[in-house]
């Protein structure tokens, strides 16, 4: 292996670097500069705010999960309390459940992802990646996943397969260029979300298999 040549090739790959599109001095002054306005993103943000305000106005805070018209998912999200023991127990349980579907998944393919949102609340998701481009993603309640309506608005095809008991199950297709990936999403009544993805250019799961994995109660946050 000619490692030096590989290093040179990677350096060549960034040789034609364009100018930065943001001002790092403004960013690092503690006052993040305005990002370029993107009409589509701005429109989606406005739409999301309108939907959020609508839901907040029309529903009591303690209402049970219901399915609104158009597949809007509104779970009753309980307070999320995470300690290390609980997180470890969750990880072990989920790892065992996912091993049945992702036999190649191991320590390097599964990862707990802790992120902190502006409220300071810790959120968790566990992701399984394999070399076959099959993804299983599990989000704990309140992890800030896009809801069904917003998700469906972005993808090439979106189909609501079942919707009962406060759950929304989606089968959707994402396309770009000649590449496509199908996902099954299970928006569960406890606020957690399970997504399973498979790509067209690899041995892929059928729609029924995707839905079976996504809705498997053993795979949960």
């Amino acid at each position: 292996m000619n490692e030096d040549a590989l290093r040179n090739a990677l350096k060549e790959a960034v040789r034609d670097e364009p100018p930065l599109s943001f001002d790092p001095t403004t960013l690092t002054a503690g006052r993040p500069g305005p990002r370029p306005v993107r009409p589509l993103a701005a429109a989606c943000l406005v739409l999301l705010l309108l939907v959020g305000v609508g839901i907040a106005v029309t529903s009591p805070a303690s209402a049970p999960p219901v399915l609104l018209a158009g597949g809007t998912w509104r779970p009753d999200i309980p307070p999320l309390v995470i300690d290390s023991l609980e997180a470890n127990a969750r990880e072990r349980r989920l790892r065992e459940a996912m091993a049945a579907y992702l036999p190649r998944a191991d320590d390097q393919a599964l990862r707990w992802d802790y992120s902190v949102v502006d409220s300071g609340r810790d959120l968790i998701s566990l992701r399984g990646f394999t070399s076959l481009r099959r993804d299983v993603l599990v989000w704990a309640p309140g992890a800030g996943v896009d809801g069904p309506s917003r998700l469906c608005a972005w993808v090439a095809r979106c189909e609501i397969r079942t919707a009962d008991g406060g759950r929304v199950v989606l089968l959707l297709v994402v396309e770009f260029g000649g590449y496509a990936q199908r996902f099954a999403y299970d928006f569960r009544s406890d606020g957690s979300v399970v997504a399973v993805g498979t790509a067209r250019d690899h041995p892929e799961y059928t729609d029924a298999q995707l839905l079976a994995i996504a809705t498997d109660p053993a795979i949960r946050a």
Binding site: A9, L10, A13, T28, R35, D107, Q108, D113
Partner: protein
Amino acid sequence: MDDFTAFAEAQVLPLRRSAYLLCGDWHTADDLVQTTLLKLFRAWPRINGREIMTNYVRTVLLRTWLDERARPFRRAERVSDSLPEPASPDQDRAGRMWQRTVVHQALLELPPRQRAVIVLRYFDDLDVAGAAAVLGCSTGTVKSQTARALAALRERVAALPDGDLAVREVLS
């Protein structure tokens, strides 16, 4: 926050180049770096051990990138079975550009963790222990991921038409 400003200004371009190698798009790389620096800025007051900061910010960048990839509508990478036409091998500059394109294209087709380990080891020049710290895994995992990634790169380059010796020299 003066130390943060100095750190961010020193790291913004190296981070951006690593992000570009990971995602394949300069605009996305800029978004990733901005997000990474803002996350670091929020966490700065409670972070100790400035000597490990360079590795820490790489960890944040990797997680930010993986987060972005998890959003279906943001999976903008194009994966194609067809490689671009090679340039004439007697043109040195064109040959370098072709080599750059092919190596980066092959890199972008690797699974995320393998792609990350190649960037950390061969672009950021981290040793095995440093890459393991950034990725949050064992040194053995880094070694195995590196071997798999290099094998996958070789496989991709092997599919090239005969005659492009410049590219074959990189990964053979």
